[in-house]
Symmetry: C2
Subunit: 95 residues, 2 copies
Amino acid sequence: MARYVVDVMPKPEILDPQGKAVLGALPRLGFEGVLDVRQGKRFEIEVEGEASDDVLAEVIKMAGTLLSNPVIEDFEVHVEGSTVGGGKHSAEALA
Amino acid sequence: MARYVVDVMPKPEILDPQGKAVLGALPRLGFEGVLDVRQGKRFEIEVEGEASDDVLAEVIKMAGTLLSNPVIEDFEVHVEGSTVGGGKHSAEALA
């Protein structure tokens, strides 16, 4: 069994109202010195069999079509607890 | 400027309806072989100054009080692009 992690974050040029809400709440709760907060999603995906480049390609496709909205979000896929197929991926890599 | 990443995931014993919805949608979209999906949140927090153990302690406090619900969620804090103060943390570490 292989576990993949997909991190989905709003693109830098996209306004992130959830992150801004957290940023606004921090000083009220006594936390100073925070410059910016961005909020995104994290998916942990358990797949049958061993981690491989084929499975990684499937997960990247999944991330680009179901887990993220390519208009407003970027994603990264990495394998948990393995050196196979790590690294950054963006929606552009699908094209 | 230091950037911290806080990953917030539902505890293993907690039902995760968002993850289950994704898991149910995958076969319909032609993705086979996925055993489980868990969905959580990812926060990227930019803090003034250099990464240090003091700042890490602040971010852990932030994660435990504002960014996660300790009843149903676990969190991990790590520093991006640095070796200072990485590693796993759970809400229990605050007690």
